[in-house]
């Protein structure tokens, strides 16, 4: 069955520190992979996506992610976290025949001053 696991429910980092959010997936075919961010009361904003090609993808707001097929992972990274990065982060896999996305449970990022 297709699924996404985000092992860390809650992460706290200090402002300026580096960040890595983990994502593991189970998918029968070559996946499309996404990271979305959700601020309180807001919809989901796409940070970055992987469809094919270079396994290291760059996104908005200084985020990047690396697709590792052998580990079934797509971890999100940022070298220096800003207080405004505090939010909920969701990894998703798709698209399936009809484009639907399967989301992980999310990781809440808290940033300490």
């Amino acid at each position: 069955a297709q699924s996404v696991t985000q092992p860390d429910i809650h992460i706290t980092v200090s402002e300026g520190a580096s960040l890595e959010l983990r994502c593991n997936y189970s998918y029968g075919a070559t996946p499309y992979l996404f990271w979305y961010v959700q601020s309180p009361g807001q919809g989901l904003q796409l940070l970055l996506k992987y469809f094919s090609g270079d396994t290291l993808v760059q996104g908005i707001k200084g985020f990047e992610a690396e697709f590792k097929r052998s580990q079934s992972s797509f971890n999100l990274r940022k070298p220096s976290v800003h207080w405004s990065d505090a939010a909920e982060y969701f990894c998703a896999v798709g698209p399936g025949n009809t484009g639907k996305l399967i989301f992980g449970q999310g990781t809440t990022l808290q940033v300490k001053p």
Binding site: Y32, G43, L44, K100, F103
Partner: protein, 113 residues
């Protein structure tokens, strides 16, 4: 340009009432998706439209849920005889086509009392 919009942003319904949630996708986007997001969870797929055709409704939790997109643009998600377990945020997303990235609206928070 304008993003995906949803209305109302908040809806309180008494148990047993019918509700209708509206989604205006990005102009020209062929694909439209509905997701349900329970508190503290990732979004879960409900249904998918390609233009006016509903091609996948496998995620609708019961026959009380009904979605339509009669002219291939605006979509409405209707929930009949609402139950407390229907309380969630309902997210709409649109995409240029099936296998392109999805852009999400701000969601409608439904509370059933």
């Amino acid at each position: 340009g304008a993003g995906v919009s949803q209305s109302p942003r908040y809806k309180v319904a008494k148990r047993g009432q019918d509700v209708a949630l509206r989604c205006d996708p990005i102009s020209g986007h062929v694909s439209l998706f509905w997701y349900q997001q329970a508190l503290g969870q990732g979004p879960e797929f409900l249904t998918y439209f390609q233009n006016e055709a509903q091609l996948d409704k496998s995620g609708l939790p019961s026959d009380r849920f009904f979605a339509e997109r009669p002219e291939g643009s605006v979509s409405t998600l209707k929930i009949q005889r609402t139950q407390q377990e229907d309380s969630a945020v309902y997210l709409c997303a649109s995409a240029r086509d099936t296998h392109y990235e999805q852009y999400f609206g701000p969601g409608t928070r439904l509370t059933v009392t």
